[in-house]
Structure formats: structure tokens, C-alpha cells
């Protein structure tokens, strides 16, 4: 780690943080920032304009994966910069991009099988179950577990367990076997969505109706209506009751699917 810079370093940080301020190290260089800011806002407070390492600012896009350590601790930790508040003595570095291998495949030509996963990512079978990926995941996903289900060819379980992945790639960055967990995950999810989950019959029925132009006239008639008539139709339309949703309605895709 870089030595502490002296004098008027960074944005004039000092050794003793003034009240309400904490000191952080952006890639080794010290800055003083107000406490309570997210890491992302702290970088901006320090004077940086972010191009890399900043996306949705809401925890969904995986652009701001951050590795950090706090003073006096040897342990490396991870966070999403947009979702994590700064702590005093944080040494920060962002990993906005990781050069992981993404396989190219034609989803139309695959089967929902172990073979498809292995063909795309033969290296993933080398997983040594060290659980580093699980520890590094900022989403707290059971990464190692879904690698295990993937190795068994259980597409549904792999899809389910990996579902909350935001594709930041931090798992792959720490993997001693060079596997690309997050890419195995999305392949499993696409295979599940396309081949394992049953097709929606009501959707197929509706497409059949649409192909015959069944609804065109109804809509064209509404388009021709005077606004006051359309308004009347809207104001008096019946609303499907928001009755108590059944147990299954609150559960998610794979759990409601064939993975039982």
C-alpha cells in the first residue's frame, strides 16, 4: 500500500480527521470526506468526475464493484460504491471491468443441460469449492452453491440461486480456478427461461388471436370516439379485483417452475 502522503495532500487532508469528516485513501491517496456519504459520492466530493465505475447509482448495474481494506486490518472486503457508506481509514480501489471470458453461443441450438454449460465454459468444472466467490459477492449470492448445482447440471437451481446477480464480476476476480461464475449463471438462467420453464399457453393463444387481427377494430373504434365518450368508458371501466394473491403469486419464477 502507498505510504501516507504528507502535507497538503489530496483535498488538503490532515492526519486527524476534523469533526464530521473521515479520511479515505483513493487508490492509496488520502482524501478527507464527510462521513455518511456513499463511497461513490465520496469520490465525487474528493473532486473526481466518474466515467468508469459509475452506472445506475442504485445497486443494479454492477459498474461500481469496489475492493477495500480498512487501516489496521489485513482483510480485503468488497462493496458496491453506490450502496456503501465510507468508513474512516478505508483504502479503496474500484474494479469497474474484469477481463473475464464470455462464451459466444447460439441459444437456439443449446439444450438445458450440463453439456451446454461445459461446452461454453469448460473451465468451470475446475471449481475447487473454496467459497471465495461467495465471500466476495456484494449481493450475498450463494455463488459457490450455484456452481455446485451447475456442476450437477441442475439448470433450474442454478438459475434460481444466481438470479439476483448484477454481473459485476467480482466473483471471477478472486477465483483461483479462473472460472467465470456470473457468466455460467446467466447462461443457466437463459436456458431455464427458454427451455425449462413451461411456455405460457395463454400467451400463445393471444398471439393466435392477434395474428388474425381480432382486436384491431375494437381499438380503431376507440380511436374514432369523441374524447368525452372515451373518458366515460374509462371512468366506468370495471377493475379486476385486487383479491388476496395466492401463495404462489408472491413466489418467483424458478420456485414456481419445475424445480421441485
Amino acid at each position: 500500500m502507498a505510504a501516507k502522503t504528507s502535507g497538503k495532500a489530496g483535498n488538503a487532508a490532515v492526519d486527524e480527521s476534523p469533526a464530521g469528516m473521515v479520511k479515505i485513501y483513493i487508490m492509496g491517496k488520502q482524501y478527507a470526506v464527510p462521513e455518511g456519504l456513499t463511497i461513490q459520492k465520496a469520490l465525487e466530493y474528493a473532486g473526481l468526475t466518474l466515467l468508469r465505475g459509475c452506472g445506475c447509482r442504485g445497486g443494479f448495474c454492477g459498474a461500481c464493484g469496489t475492493v477495500y481494506r480498512t487501516e489496521g486490518d489485513y482483510k480485503l472486503k468488497v462493496a458496491l460504491a453506490c450502496q456503501t457508506v465510507v468508513e474512516d481509514g478505508m483504502y479503496l480501489t474500484q474494479i469497474p471491468f474484469y477481463p473475464a471470458n464470455k462464451a459466444i453461443y447460439d441459444i437456439e441450438k443449446l439444450t438445458p443441460s450440463l453439456e451446454s454449460l461445459v461446452q461454453a465454459y469448460p473451465e468451470f468444472m475446475r471449481c475447487v469449492q473454496c467459497n471465495t466467490c461467495r465471500k466476495v459477492c456484494p449481493q450475498d449470492i450463494e455463488v459457490m452453491q450455484y456452481m455446485a448445482t451447475a456442476m450437477r447440471g441442475d439448470i433450474a437451481k442454478t438459475a434460481d440461486l444466481s438470479f439476483d446477480c448484477i454481473m459485476c464480476g467480482l466473483c471471477a476476480s478472486r477465483c483461483p480456478a479462473d472460472t467465470v461464475q456470473y457468466y455460467v449463471g446467466i447462461l443457466a438462467r437463459r436456458l431455464y427461461g427458454k427451455y425449462v420453464a413451461p411456455e405460457a399457453k395463454h400467451l400463445a393463444d393471444r398471439l393466435g388471436e392477434l395474428d388474425t387481427g381480432k382486436f384491431d377494430k375494437e381499438i380503431d373504434d376507440m380511436i374514432k370516439m369523441k374524447q368525452e365518450d372515451l373518458r366515460k368508458l374509462y371512468d366506468t371501466r370495471d377493475i379486476e379485483p385486487a383479491e388476496e394473491t395466492t401463495e404462489t403469486e408472491a413466489v418467483s419464477a424458478t420456485e414456481a417452475g419445475t424445480d421441485k
Binding site: L50, F60, I186, R190, A200, I219, R231
Partner: protein, 555 residues
């Protein structure tokens, strides 16, 4: 990663307020707040919706929508000068020569690129951040599609028109609702994992302003699921993508047709000329311009770049004076201020509660109505709950979801929401959360027809950058639908048109003409756009940066 919950995440006065929410919860479980009459809605909107606040709208003095109005923050990028000198720029050297140029790498841009590629066009997709960095990624609630037997597309049509207060362009709405089931089929075929019952039936719920349960979701990662699937497919198809490259000006040919764009590498700051037979703009909205100082739920890149370019090229706007404030932006704690709390929370049964522990609005009115009611409750009626930082908010009673649907329902149906609050040590299954409206969506935008073409020939536009589909107020679940319906239409039509278009001589005369208009209207010459990124520098930083020259030397 959640920090150790050591103390109560809520300060004492907020904890006291929560007790009132808890005290009335049992009673409220069976209490339905009445839906407002049409007249009451109209007067509520007129008095409390931010669009109607005096002094915020300014005149547009130049360009194809001259005489209309928009908000100060948007007007300041629309009526501004180019980042390049339109007369001094060398357009003779072509760096990229393609059939279809797609500007924007979100849901609309990616679907346009996929469909155009499928149709055999040579496609280049450029995006100023990473492929997939877009508001699409952040949409939690879901996507509407009328695909169940009790829900003909005409019912969807009626909901959209009423929700948009009948200002919508009916032909666009017709396209939206009739294409919707095809979009769901496309997503299913691509392997996007939407929530289904055992037999494959889509699980659908209500959204604000829907008359049928028509909202399809992928847990509360609906947009993320769509975006990561489309991104994966764009890469699989080998479509050429330039990341960290923005389009900063459109180009035209001798006949005035759109013919490509000037690209700007955001990292090396180099310019490139892209000649394209047809162009698709899919650059999204304007949340990061922070209209009226509101916080926003939007992505870092939402700075209205595409509409700036299209306007200079001669494409008029519609409804650029209609902004959607999402009723439930997070109001506490500070680090998630403005971030979205999905409408699905209300869809699953959580009510909106004031400081007295009472409801004051039916939670699934349209977004503009709910936002206005919250602003009234916190303002004129003084019934909001104050946070530490002088922000007022309303309680969203999330624990009701678990009471209605059983323990664990929030984790299953709203994992992203639960995680966001866990990171702040708040357990939304046990405690309500504080919300206030946040700038969410640009209802208006560039005018298009049902083929997704603007008034500038060969310039197609899709998604939030357009206006007309949603009238003056969009319903939940119709923007994920919009970007896919019109993204696909733009891709298809741009590819088809490129087949009978001959590449012409490139020019930026339209920009030069626009500059002259700006000058005679007295617009100050230091106004430059598109903005590309929001400016979050502190004034101290700006002051210290004065007089700098680039590190690599004087240009």
C-alpha cells in the same frame, strides 16, 4: 453487505411516528381508501403536481418547437451550442461506414440493434457508458402486456389513454398494446426469466392505473433481467459495439436526411465520423438534469443527449413540459435519497400513511395523482414525517405485505428492495419505510410515428427519448414495454430503409443554422450540450480547476 445493526436505524422522533403507523395497521388491513373522482383528480393535479408550479417553465425560442415551453433545466441543454464547430469540422474522412447506427445501449437501443442485425443490416451501436448502462437496468416493477383471456388489448389501450389523460397519440398506443404480447414471446424465446406459475402461466399483478392484472415481473429485477439478457444476445450476435463513446452531433446528407453522427471517445477525447444510412436514437431521458432540484431515480447517464441532437437536426418535441415524479422515492436514509421504491410494493398491498397513522390516497392511483397527494400531505396539510435532514416523507407500510402474503413474501417478491434497505440496517419486513416523490421519467420527448420515425427522414427514435406514447403521464410497466415495442420497430424499419438509401455527402449545416438562431435569440454562447454526464463537482473543486489545460498539452 449489511453493516452490523448496532442501534435503531431510525432516530427517536421517526421511531415515535412509526408507532402510530403500527397502531393503526390492524384496522387498515381491511380498509380501502376510496378512489378519487375524475374532478378531484384534476384539481389535485392542478394544485400540487410539480409540472404546474409557477415560474418553472420557460419558453423555447428556437428550433422546430419554438413557442412551446419546457423546464429550465431541460431548456438549458436544448437551447445550447454544439460541442464541435459545425463549419470547421472535417467530415471528409469516414471512420465508420454502416447501414444502421444505433445511439444508446439500453433496452431500446439493444433491441433495435438485435432486430436490425437480424434483418441483415450492418449495425454499429455506440453508448457513452457500458452496454446495458441504462434506466432499463433499474426498472424493478415489471412490464405490461395484455395476454390473458380477461384482458383484451383494447382494455390495455383504454388504461393507457386514461392514464395519459387522453393526450396520448392513439396510433402509438395501438402499436404499444398490440405488439405487447409479441414482445413477451420474444423475451420468452430469448430465455428471460419472468415469474410463472407451475403450468407456465405468467404471474401478473396490478400496477397504478391498470384495470387488469397485467404486470409481468422477474422478481423485482424485471428491467435487469431484460437488460442482461439483451446484452448477452447482442454480444452473442457479434454486433459491433463501441462503449464509452457518445454521439455528440447528428450528420445529414444533401437531401436533409439523417446520415450518421459524430462520435466522441469519452476516454481519449477523440472524435470520429460515422456515416450511416439510417440512425436510431435510443438515449433515454433527463433525470440527471434534476428538474426543479428533485432527486432522481435515474441512471448516471440520463442527461437528455439524444433529444438535444434530434432537436438540432429538426425533429420537434411533444409534451416536453410533462415530467413524471415517481411517488415513492426513498426519503430516508440520506445515502439512498431519491432511489426508487418500486410500485410493486404498493401492488402487493403496502399503504401510504401520514404522521397520524392514516391513509390519505388510494395507493394505486396513477403516479401523478399519488405524487401530488404526497406533496399535498407533506406541504399544505403538514402531515409528513421529518427526517434528520429537513426532508419530509410519507410512510410506506411495507410490513403489511408480510401480513397479507405470509412471512418471507418480501424476500421472495422484492429481493432487491429488501437488500437495499438491509444495507442501511432497515428491515422493511418489520418497519415501514419513508418515501417522497422523485424525478423518474420524461413523459414527453421527440415526436415519432408508429414506425418510430421522427420528422427528420431516416432518423428513428425509440424509448424514453420519444413523446406521445404515454401522453402526459405514463403508467407503471409501460416503459419497459415501450422500449421493446418501439426499439424493435425502429430496428426493423431502420434496417429496411437502409436497403434503399444511398450514402450521400455529409454535412453539419443544420447545426450552423441552429447556432445562428441561438445567437439571434440571445442565448449565451457558453451554453454547450449535450451534457453527456451530470456535473456533481463541488463549487470548491470547480474553482480550483479554473484555468487548467489538458495534461497532454495545449490543444
Amino acid at each position: 453487505m449489511a453493516n452490523q445493526p448496532s442501534t435503531d436505524p431510525y432516530p427517536k422522533h421517526m421511531r415515535e411516528a412509526i408507532k402510530k403507523v403500527e397502531a393503526t395497521r390492524t384496522r387498515r388491513m381491511s380498509e380501502d381508501f376510496p378512489v378519487l373522482s375524475a374532478d378531484d383528480k384534476a384539481s389535485l393535479l392542478k394544485k400540487f403536481h410539480p409540472d404546474h408550479k409557477a415560474g418553472e417553465l420557460v419558453d423555447i425560442k428556437v428550433g422546430p418547437s419554438k413557442g412551446e415551453k419546457s423546464f429550465k433545466e431541460i431548456e438549458s441543454v436544448i437551447q445550447a451550442y454544439s460541442r464541435v464547430d459545425p463549419k470547421g469540422f472535417d467530415l471528409s474522412k469516414i471512420d465508420f461506414d454502416v447501414d444502421v447506427l444505433v445511439i444508446g445501449g439500453g433496452g431500446a437501443g439493444s433491441s433495435a440493434a438485435l432486430v436490425a442485425n437480424e434483418a441483415g443490416a450492418k449495425v454499429l451501436l455506440v453508448t457513452k457508458l457500458r452496454l446495458g448502462d441504462a434506466n432499463t437496468m433499474m426498472a424493478q416493477g415489471g412490464i405490461q402486456a395484455a395476454d390473458k383471456s380477461n384482458d383484451p388489448p383494447s382494455q390495455h389501450f383504454l388504461d393507457v389513454m386514461g392514464g395519459g389523460h387522453y393526450h396520448n397519440f392513439p396510433e402509438l398506443v395501438k402499436a404499444l398494446v398490440l405488439d405487447a404480447p409479441y414482445v413477451m414471446k420474444w423475451l420468452q424465446d430469448l430465455g428471460a426469466m419472468f415469474d410463472k406459475e407451475n403450468d407456465g402461466t405468467y404471474i401478473t399483478i396490478h400496477g397504478g392505473g391498470t384495470s387488469r392484472k397485467r404486470m409481468h415481473a422477474a422478481r423485482d429485477y424485471s428491467g435487469a433481467e431484460i437488460m442482461r439478457t439483451l446484452k448477452d444476445e447482442v454480444i452473442n450476435k457479434g454486433i459491433e459495439v463501441l462503449e464509452f463513446s457518445s454521439a455528440i452531433e447528428l450528420l445529414k446528407d444533401e437531401e436533409g436526411k439523417c446520415a450518421g453522427a459524430i462520435l466522441y471517445n469519452m476516454e481519449t477525447e477523440e472524435h470520429f465520423v460515422c456515416r450511416a444510412k439510417t440512425t436510431v436514437i435510443a438515449t433515454g431521458g433527463a433525470g440527471r438534469l434534476h428538474v426543479q432540484g428533485f432527486p432522481t431515480s435515474n441512471h448516471y447517464g440520463a442527461t437528455a443527449d439524444g433529444i438535444v441532437l434530434a432537436y438540432r437536426a429538426g425533429a420537434p418535441f411533444v409534451f416536453m413540459d410533462a415530467i413524471q415524479y415517481h411517488p415513492t422515492g426513498s426519503a430516508y436514509p440520506e445515502q439512498i435519497l431519491g432511489l426508487l421504491v418500486t410500485e410493486k410494493v404498493r401492488g402487493l398491498g403496502a399503504q401510504l400513511i401520514n404522521i397520524d397513522g392514516d391513509q390519505f390516497v388510494y395507493p394505486l392511483e396513477t403516479r401523478d395523482v399519488v405524487s401530488s397527494a404526497i406533496i399535498r400531505e407533506c406541504g399544505e396539510r403538514s402531515k409528513g414525517t421529518k427526517t434528520l435532514s429537513d426532508v419530509y416523507g410519507i410512510w410506506l407500510d411495507s410490513p403489511m405485505i408480510e401480513l397479507k402474503h405470509g412471512k418471507g413474501a418480501i424476500k421472495k417478491a422484492l429481493p432487491a428492495m429488501a437488500r437495499q434497505y438491509e444495507r442501511c440496517d432497515i428491515d422493511m419486513t418489520k418497519d415501514p419505510i419513508l418515501i417522497y416523490p422523485t424525478q423518474h421519467y420524461q413523459n414527453g420527448g421527440v415526436k415519432i410515428n408508429a414506425d418510430a420515425e421522427s420528422d427528420v427522414p431516416n432518423l428513428f427514435i425509440a424509448g424514453e427519448a420519444t413523446g406521445g406514447v404515454h401522453g402526459r403521464n405514463r403508467l407503471m410497466g409501460n416503459s419497459l414495454l415501450d422500449i421493446l415495442v418501439f426499439g424493435r420497430r425502429a430496428g426493423k424499419n431502420a434496417a429496411a430503409r437502409s436497403k434503399d438509401t444511398k450514402a450521400g455527402k455529409l454535412s453539419m449545416n443544420h447545426v450552423d443554422t441552429f447556432h445562428k438562431e441561438l445567437k439571434s435569440a440571445g442565448i449565451p454562447e457558453d451554453r454547450i450540450s449535450p451534457a453527456l454526464l451530470p456535473d456533481y463537482r463541488r463549487p470548491e473543486t470547480v474553482e480550483r480547476q479554473k484555468g487548467q489545460v489538458p495534461l497532454s498539452g495545449r490543444v
